[in-house]
Amino acid sequence: MKKGIAAFFLCLLLTGCLDQLQLKNLLFVDVVGIDYVDDSKELKVNFVISALREANLGGGRQSALFMETTGANLYEAVSKTNKEIPGILSVLETRLYLISTKFAKEQPLDHLNIASQFASNPLYAYLAIYDGDLSKLLAKKSMKDQTVANFLIGLLDDEKTRGRIPSNKLLHYILGGTQFMNDFALNRFEPYKDSARLAGTSLFSDGRYTGINLSNEDTQLANLMGGETGKNQLIIGEQNGIHYSILVQNAKRHFKINTDADKLRDIAVDIQMDVKLIEDGPELKKHTNKELAKTEKAIEADLNSKAAKVIATIKQANCDYLQLAHEVAAFHPKVYSGLSWREQYPQIGIKPQVKVRILNNAILE
């Protein structure tokens, strides 16, 4: 037993001091911004370094330091920055990689792959796109009384919790991507007044930005079609001139692949949605079963037409956001082998079929 204990403590001693990093010397990079320098292929990299000042006074004051540098790749940019500021840049706590639209249009993942070479890098940091001047945004001292990093990441965290936006973690896309087709939609920020706001998603095909975006509402629907359960998501719409608001309680998505022998005919995207009816026109009223059925049909019609538009947009971008290629390859391998997916995808018939079931009227009768 003594030997066991001795061996155990020796194991702990392996965490020796040669590789120690003193906390006071570390510069924690919270946000990494990546763009191109003008029209060249050189990277312009921004680092937002977060620190807690005056911690001795109690709660402390959060501060953000902005650094900008250039380099052929991320490693070179880090190396250059280390020469411009005392301390060691650490990506241990990096929470967001923000890329510009210009950078996103040229194989951005080739540059981001190198992030996996940082040993301490949390590869589950968000990856998002900014449709504006990235340096100008990240150089801001604060936005709405928060640091830039907290503001941007807070927006993503909250919307992700509500299930309205895709998860968008860096590791899902780099090194070839976790998905069958490296087609995805990245959360998109745009300039808004003197700060920024979330403005839907940008569609990527084969890891490259297509220049086509989905609005916030489209993103929400695309997410539901992507298999999100949509718990407590608010959907607002209009049908026959009457506004309605529903709270999704649960959504189940199912793909139905229809084939003729070994040929793909079309794909149905079935969504079964259980909802709370919050508002159905300006006046509050008690619904009869007949009226509820009518309302369900009206909402279904509205959602189906919106979902069809979303599908048309992602097809136009040749972005297989729903990963239908994987579905076909997994369950109909023979059909998939006869397809040239990238070329044929925009022509494939994809039909959304939303079914709505009103469970209750929320709090009021």
Partner: protein, 366 residues
């Protein structure tokens, strides 16, 4: 020679599981992906079943000489000179295997955690730990392994529950899409991950069980635990990463553990690598122990003392470690060791079993 104390069936399970789980857990999904694609889990499962046949083989051989360990009865089967040569080969093989595993884990620690710490220092510390433990008796090694069993359990739970961060079961479909040829290659590649059950060669006479069948049953439980561990690891990795990613990520488990976000704990992946030292150490000290025992049996009356042999092996490994610095060289040596393992853990016992059977038949004929 020091008299070996008996161990219980439970202790044998701990020793075998710890000896089988080496550095392979970290790289198995990557190695499997390069050969068997998304059918890695099938290859690993079948490989585990093949290892079960290997266990039956060694058990069968051992049951011919229930009172003696492998090194003691080799001379009895093939005569003294060849028996000594076989013991020498096994001793060298186990010392070499111990060195290789230590060097591979040093490489992992160096790449992931200790980029500034000299390589030789990490290697030396690991060798000292394992050497120190290997000077013990089989019973004490079993106690240490039992104490360390908690760590693979924690590691297993961390890996298994990482699936909650989202997995895609479609990654496993369609099953056997490219035929059985890649799976067969995968079985070969994964087999080395199960090596460690050969501990039974030495431990057979020292296990207290009610019957021979009970001993086989005990070994089968140990092997089943390892199979479950490996198959779950491969399933989690295959469902969380695409094939493209698995082919370029040598240690996918570490990437998966990066997913854990605990407010009060930074980098579960680093903690995992530290915990995992205990698993790797358990494999290495069993190998050093087996090597020392083999060398001690180079003379029928016993040659040298166990602790001296162990420290000689540790010194030799430390010196040899200076020549194993390049990762590609390490991987090539590991590929050679895989072939050697199959020959020594499967091939040679088969030959010995046949000779033993023929001699037994001959004696009965006389």
């Amino acid at each position: 020679m020091r008299k070996e104390e008996h161990i219980t069936g439970r202790q044998l399970i701990s020793l075998t599981v710890m000896a089988q789980l080496g550095t392979e857990v970290l790289s198995l999904p990557h190695v499997g992906a390069t050969t068997a694609g998304h059918d890695t889990w099938i290859a690993v499962l079948l490989s585990g079943m093949a290892a079960q046949l290997g266990i039956i083989l060694i058990w069968w051989l051992g049951s011919h000489y229930p009172k003696r360990n492998f090194y003691a009865y080799t001379s009895q089967i093939v005569g003294k000179p060849i028996g000594i040569l076989i013991n020498l080969i096994y001793g060298t093989y186990y010392a070499f295997s111990g060195l290789l595993i230590t060097a591979l884990y040093t490489d992992i620690l160096k790449r992931w955690m200790f980029s500034l710490t000299p390589r030789w220092l990490i290697l030396l510390m690991l060798l000292i730990i394992c050497g120190y433990a290997a000077t013990s008796t089989l019973k004490k090694l079993a106690y240490i392994s039992q104490s360390f069993m908690l760590f693979p359990v924690i590691c297993f739970l961390l890996i298994a529950f990482s699936g909650v961060y989202g997995f895609d079961a479609k990654n496993l479909l369609p099953i056997v899409s490219d035929g059985w040829s890649p799976i067969l290659k995968g079985i070969y590649a994964a087999y080395s991950a199960y090596i460690g059950y050969d501990l039974l060669l030495y431990a057979y006479p020292y296990v207290q069980t009610q019957s021979k069948k009970k001993l086989l049953w005990t070994m089968s439980i140990a092997n089943a635990c390892t199979i479950v561990f490996y198959v779950v690891v491969c399933l989690v990795c295959s469902t969380m990463f695409s094939l493209k990613q698995l082919i370029v990520i040598p240690e996918p488990i570490v990437f998966i553990l990066k997913n854990y976000k605990v407010q009060i704990l930074q980098s579960v992946d680093i903690l995992f690598l530290i915990f995992y030292v205990s698993v790797v150490a358990a494999t290495v000290y069993v190998y050093f122990f087996m090597a020392a025992k083999a060398f001690m049996h180079l003379r029928s009356g016993g040659m040298g003392k166990q602790h001296i042999w162990v420290w000689v092996i540790v010194c030799a490994c430390f010196i040899a470690g200076f020549f194993m610095t390049k990762r590609n060289d390490l991987l090539q040596v590991a590929a050679f060791q895989d072939q050697l393992s199959i020959f020594l853990v499967v091939g040679l016992p088969v030959i010995l079993l046949i000779i033993s059977g023929l001699r037994g038949a001959g004696r009965r004929g006389v």
